[in-house]
């Protein structure tokens, strides 16, 4: 009997995979839903990074976006509304060998899941978190979410939402030990892919807010940014999300932003005139809670029994 070893997968060479190796059930989102494009990007990322499907787990809560795991051909955990992050953290705790992705919605993460979101940022355990922000509750049919913009009419606020929206980026930046905070849009596949790729290579908790179209309920929501890309602020930096010429051509409003600069990140994140995309903040030195949770993984059964025996001795009469 042995403890868990990552080298149990006895493969001399990483395997090659095709997109089909990651395609689960047929996605049942509405036509034009931004979730499709994230699914696409993620499947490509998995293939390009040669992630063994059996070593990869997609964890989600409840919502349209949280159906994500069903559409992957990997392991998945489609749990409870708001509770994806505790589950993902528990999976990570003793499994440094798994690739963990989390799919969560603006309601799932920023409303019912708020406490877990804030604390998961602080735990900084390695995983990629995609927060699908369509500014609405999709699955339950058009109720206000924390990110719904003021005045938008919803089924719970037929005269328009009362409050200015929650800003998940500024909130995240306020959490000590948060280590990777990025923002991208579903309708620009290259930037989306590049952002997720950075997130995947980050050694800790990588939080990516994906602005996601929901044509069914909030069709006009991101229209402005789609029709006029100059309303988007592309954050560029050698340490940020890599941008190629095509991206530079698309996004004419740009700013150089060093993701090591938390204060400046806060500054950009507060802007309401433009929608910033790119990497706000990265800190590879932040402590990783999973470096503690996985301690002792290699303790052998014999060692355990021996240690227990010694412990019992202390209670002996």
């Amino acid at each position: 009997m042995l403890g868990l070893k990552t080298d149990w997968v006895l493969e001399p060479e990483p395997r090659d995979y095709a997109l089909a190796d990651y395609e689960g059930c047929q996605a049942k989102w509405c036509p034009g839903c931004g979730d499709h494009s994230v699914l696409n990007a993620v499947q490509r990322l998995c293939r390009d990074e040669r992630l063994p499907p059996e070593q990869t787990v997609f964890v989600s809560g409840i919502g349209c976006s949280s159906r994500f795991p069903h559409y992957m051909k990997t392991y998945g955990f489609h749990g409870l509304h708001g509770r994806a992050l505790p589950v993902a953290s528990g999976i990570r705790a003793r499994r440094p060998d798994l690739n963990i992705f989390v799919a969560t919605g603006d309601g799932d993460c920023c409303s019912i899941g708020t406490a877990h979101w804030i604390h998961a940022l602080r735990y900084n355990m390695k995983m990629v978190v995609m927060m699908f922000d369509n500014n609405i509750y999709g699955l339950t049919k058009k109720q206000t979410s924390p990110t719904t913009r003021r005045g938008r009419r919803t089924n719970t606020h037929p005269d328009g939402a009362f409050l200015s929206p929650m800003n998940p980026i500024t909130v995240s930046l306020g959490v000590p030990n948060a280590s990777f905070i990025a923002q991208t849009v579903d309708w620009n596949p290259p930037h989306l892919y590049a952002t997720l790729r950075e997130a995947f290579h980050h050694p800790g908790f990588a939080f990516v807010r994906v602005m996601q179209r929901c044509p069914h309920f909030t069709g006009d929501n991101f229209e402005l940014f789609q029709t006029d890309p100059s309303k988007i602020l592309l954050m560029t930096h050698p340490d940020g999300v890599p941008v190629d010429d095509a991206l530079i051509r698309t996004f004419t409003t740009r700013v150089e932003h060093d993701p090591a600069d938390r204060m400046n990140a806060f500054n950009h994140a507060m802007r309401e005139d433009v929608l910033p995309i790119g990497l706000f903040y990265r800190d590879e030195e932040a402590e990783h809670y999973d470096s503690y949770t996985r301690e002792g993984l290699d303790t052998t059964p014999a060692e355990k029994v021996e240690a227990m025996d010694k412990l019992l001795d202390l209670y002996c009469v």
């Binding site: 403890g3 955990f77 589950v87 019992l312």
Partner: protein, 632 residues
């Protein structure tokens, strides 16, 4: 020095040693005066000398209550016997009080009886504060009027010969007194004191040993009567610990590697013990941001291959309700420990109650069958954790272990468990999974199936709390829903078929069968024993499985004229006319009535304290007399 030697003590024969079957000693002080340490050492020493021992903590409700205040009572009750003991017993025989006020808290709890010997610090009679002197003297009179035998003891005065702050020495002085009073092995006790204090340096150690000797010699000079409680015959090596320590040890012995929790009294200390020791077996305690996250984390860890444990009490259990439903629905092995306290709501956080049974059985919306065990002794707290982990994995779902505040802080010696690698959970299976085997490949008879673990090639599936088929695909179709819910129910039935009927304590026919569960076992069996000695046809049975119930209960119950449960939870009183025609039953009674259709009676109370066997004797006698009245 001005020793009050009470008339009672004066009458005691010089150097007489009386043999006792058992005695109950309480040491009660302000919090911070160390009565707990003294009690622990005294209890442990007695266990080492071969006595049966049951110790309970006396804990104040506040962190630092004012000194000399009734709610400030802090200390230990130690029951020492010539045979194995499984409960805290009735009224105290001997009480050591550091001041008179704290004794009233114990009197409220019904802890003393006429004739209880009280050894009381007497420094208060000369206190510079007049009000203190007055209250002390009034109390002295009152205590004697109540029939207690009070002996004034110059604890502080003696201690001040060795230490400057007597508050930090009295407890060890008292230990010396007790050592003499009960003829304990003096070398053994000195050794234990040494073990406790040697880390604090020689000076501290020496003054404690001096205090111990001082107490001892004071007792030798002043107390002429001493007692001896002979050891019981059991040569097996024993360990002594409380229920929460046993749960923690059981966790480790079961090979669990993750305990995910959020602090809540009286469950928290399980995680303290684990946090201090888990590292040694490669385990980890996760203190989550709340109870929901705690169980979510445990479920995540379990899903990933290692069955984890989450530990909580009433309010925390309430918060876990939704995730418990998921664990049932998606069949995630999980051990959930509920150390029950007084409810409802925040209730009585530090007090014992057994009122989470129905919440555990029926708390989750929808049909959520689960396995529920209730240990009845400290030893079972240890062993049931090993069983619980195995059941969780075999039956692929949550397993509850229902402990309570009584077991949590009760201390008892029990045979040293034998450890073995077989008890540990096996390593995470990472072999290839046969892709033709569905992730819920339910056996149509038993509902059982094996689960794939992330990392197993060929086993990838998406766990979901939505209605799903054997492939874990979301399906809302009528037939599938009916069938899959039945599969989860079949697991309980399958487990039941493997169980044996519980063992009756006493004869298996008779007038009255007392049914109990959990920590009341010791008190119930003791009461039954006493009544049987009086010739009553009474027996008892303790249910270790609450879900599924062990088989054969209906037949067992039918062999008695009357069956009743004894529980520490609320039920409407029998004779209160306010409840005429609508008497709400105790929790186990409710369950057994529905299942057996036998008119099971019940007596249950919520005093926030463990049941005393003596009170049970009265209750049971009364019910039996009623029966007799009814039949003749």
């Amino acid at each position: 020095m001005n020793h009050i030697v009470s008339p009672v003590t004066a009458k005691i024969q010089k150097d007489a040693v009386t043999l006792l079957d058992e005695h109950i000693v309480e040491i009660v002080s302000d919090s911070g005066e160390g009565a707990q340490t003294a009690g622990q050492i005294f209890g442990q020493a007695s266990a080492m000398m071969g006595n049966g021992v049951w110790t309970v903590e006396i804990i104040p409700a506040e962190i630092e209550p004012p000194s000399r205040s009734v709610p400030g009572a802090s200390g230990n009750r130690i029951r020492v016997g010539a045979r194995a003991l499984h409960n805290a017993g009735d009224k105290a025989d001997v009480v050591i009080g550091f001041n008179e006020q704290v004794l009233y808290s114990r009197i409220d709890q019904g802890a003393f009886k006429k004739g209880t010997h009280i050894f009381l610090e007497n420094k208060w009679e000369n206190d510079p504060r007049e009000d203190v002197r007055n209250t002390y003297n009034e109390a002295l009179t009152d205590l004697r009027e109540r029939g207690y035998k009070v002996t004034g003891v110059p604890m502080e005065a003696c201690c001040l010969e060795y230490v400057r702050d007597a508050r930090r020495g009295k407890n060890i002085w008292v230990l010396g007194l007790l050592c003499r009073l009960y003829n304990r092995d003096k070398d053994l006790m000195r050794k234990m004191i040494t073990r406790r204090f040697q880390a604090k340096g020689e000076k501290v150690l020496n003054s404690n040993l001096q205090l111990f000797e001082s107490g001892f010699s004071w007792a030798r000079s002043n107390l002429t009567q001493t007692w001896r409680i002979p050891p019981r015959r059991d040569d097996r090596p024993h360990v002594v610990m409380n229920g929460n320590q046993a749960l923690a040890m059981g966790c480790m012995a079961a090979g669990m590697e993750i305990c995910s929790m959020y602090p809540i009294t009286p469950a928290t200390s399980v995680s303290h013990y684990l946090a201090a020791n888990f590292k040694k077996v490669g385990g980890f305690v996760h203190q989550a941001e709340d109870e929901i996250a705690a169980i979510g984390f445990a479920i995540g860890a379990s899903y990933a291959g290692k069955t984890a444990v989450t530990i909580t009490s009433g309010p925390g259990l309430a918060l876990k309700t939704e995730f418990i439903g998921l664990a049932v629905m998606a069949e995630v092995p999980l051990v959930i420990v509920d150390v029950q306290r007084g409810g409802p709501s925040t209730g009585l956080p530090t007090k014992v109650e057994q009122s989470d049974l129905l919440a555990v059985l029926h708390g989750s919306p929808g049909d959520a069958p689960k396995i529920v065990l209730a240990p009845s002794t400290i030893e079972e707290c240890f062993h049931f954790m090993i069983t619980a982990r195995r059941l969780a994995e075999e039956f692929r779902g949550p397993v509850f272990v229902l402990s309570d505040a009584n077991l949590a802080t009760g201390v008892q010696p029990f045979p040293r468990p034998r450890l073995s690698e077989d008890q540990l959970s096996p390593p995470i299976d990472q072999s290839d999974w046969d892709p033709d085997v569905a992730p819920y490949n339910w056996d149509s008879e038993s509902g059982l199936s094996r689960r794939p673990i992330p990392g197993q090639r060929g086993g990838a599936y998406v766990l979901t709390g939505l209605g799903h088929d054997r492939h874990s695909k979301v399906v809302y179709e009528s037939g599938t829903n009916q069938k899959t819910i039945a599969m989860r129910s079949k697991k309980l039935a399958a487990l039941q078929r493997t169980l044996k009927p519980p063992t009756i304590f006493g004869d298996d026919t008779g007038d009255l069968l007392v049914v109990g569960w959990g920590s009341t076992r010791g008190a119930v069996e003791e009461a039954v024993t006493r009544l049987r000695k009086q010739g009553r046809k009474i027996s008892s049975v303790n249910l270790q499985f609450l879900s599924p119930l062990q088989p054969g209960l209906t037949e067992m119950f039918r062999r008695f004229k009357k069956v009743m449960t004894i529980e520490i939870n609320y039920s409407d009183k029998k004779d209160d006319p306010a409840f005429a025609g609508a008497r709400r039953p105790a929790q186990l009674a409710m369950l057994l009535r529905a299942r057996t259709l036998i008119d099971i009676d019940f007596w249950s109370r919520v005093p926030g304290s463990p049941l005393q066997p003596g009170i049970l004797v009265d209750v049971l006698k009364h019910r039996m007399d009623e029966m007799r009245g009814a039949t003749c």
